[in-house]
């Protein structure tokens, strides 16, 4: 690293008081600031996050992961961030993967880096693999770009992506929208294999089949009407 760059981690969180503190403290080893966007949480997420040392921004109502992520990125932008890392609050991503994720951006080889949970040996439940596969196919159908793990929340945005990103989709569709933004704005993309820790807790927090279908319909509808 020849010049000091301001690196900010953005963690969208909804009712994650039991998990978020560990994610914050682990992420802090690698970034300058951690921003937690408490997305209408009804539990003690904001207080726990603040105590762990994060800057907490609160949505008065639950708007969805996409909206919370964009709020965090806008806050990071206002704070002068050069690089933004997004990761889930439930602890499924290992913050120790941050250096590897950052490297392509620091080397000037990528504008956006996608984590790939399928790139290394990970114990991923079969149903998750199926859902992610469907998400990838759908993303490819609407963007024309194949991303091995398009629905993963663990990403790194380089300086150009931080400046240009504009997520409009509020809920889980935002992952596909980010791929679309990458294609539209001709960002250089990289994929890095990362660890993932699935537990009963993270499984319960994920998308249900019904919301997955709804997400798919929204993506198709939007891509056609845009």
């Amino acid at each position: 690293m020849s010049e000091k760059r301001r690196i900010v981690a953005v963690i969208p969180a909804y009712n994650e008081e039991t998990r978020v503190a560990h994610v914050i403290t682990s992420a802090m080893e690698y970034v300058d600031t951690v921003i937690v966007v408490a997305d209408g949480s009804k539990d003690g997420t904001p207080a726990v996050a603040e105590k762990a040392g994060a800057l907490v921004i609160q949505h008065v109502d639950n708007c969805g992961a996409g909206a919370a992520t964009m709020t965090g990125i806008e806050a990071a932008r206002a704070m002068g961030a050069d690089i933004v890392i997004t990761l889930d609050a439930d602890g499924q991503h290992d913050p120790h993967d941050i250096p590897a994720m950052l490297q392509p951006v620091l080397d000037g080889k990528a504008d956006i880096v996608f984590a790939n949970r399928f790139g290394v040996r990970n114990r991923i439940p079969f149903i998750r693999r199926v859902f992610n596969g469907i998400g990838n196919i759908l993303t490819f159908a609407v963007t024309g770009k194949w991303v091995s793990d398009s629905q993963c929340g663990f990403k790194v945005f380089g300086p150009r992506a931080v400046r240009e990103i504009d997520i409009r989709m509020s809920r889980y569709e935002f992952c596909t929208e980010i791929v679309r933004e990458s294609v539209q704005r001709h960002w250089r993309m990289k994929e890095i294999p990362t660890k993932v820790i699935y537990s009963e807790y993270t499984m319960a927090k994920g998308q249900s089949f019904a919301s997955g279908v709804k997400t798919a319909l929204k993506i198709l509808l939007r891509s056609f009407l845009r």
Binding site: D61, C63, T71, R77, G144, S170, V183, K218, R226
Partner: protein, 120 residues
């Protein structure tokens, strides 16, 4: 070959829609991929209008053989479009509410919101 008014209007509308889509690509509001999908859809509409016999298989499968059926299907199409339009309107309202919530959250922390948000 005798052409009906529909067979002239439908390809013209399709042509305008395709030109519009590619215009959006040049303005960087639509991706090339989306424009290709859009072109395929409107080309199919134009082709069916010019060559109605091409959907003989479809009439066989759906059973739409006479005018009464066609009228029914047309109205179903119109109803579908109205529902579609309402869904889009609801989405827009939801987006406005989300933008407001996000704006309040950032203002409370003294972090400025980009001017672009106000224009949208």
């Amino acid at each position: 070959m005798h052409l009906t008014a529909y067979q002239i209007i439908a390809p013209l509308v399709s042509f305008v829609a395709i030109v519009y889509a590619w215009n959006l690509v040049f303005k960087q509001k639509k991706t090339v991929w989306e424009a290709i999908l859009w072109t395929a859809f409107w080309s199919a509409i134009a082709y069916i209008a010019i060559e109605p016999d091409s959907i003989t298989y479809l009439t066989m499968v759906t059973g739409i053989k006479n005018r009464e059926n066609a009228v029914l299907v047309t109205f179903l199409g119109i109803l579908f479009f109205i529902v579609f339009y309402l869904v889009i309107r609801l989405e827009e309202l939801e987006q406005r509410q989300t933008r407001l919530i996000r704006k309040i959250a950032l203002q409370k922390k003294g972090l400025s919101v980009e001017e672009e948000d106000d224009k949208r």
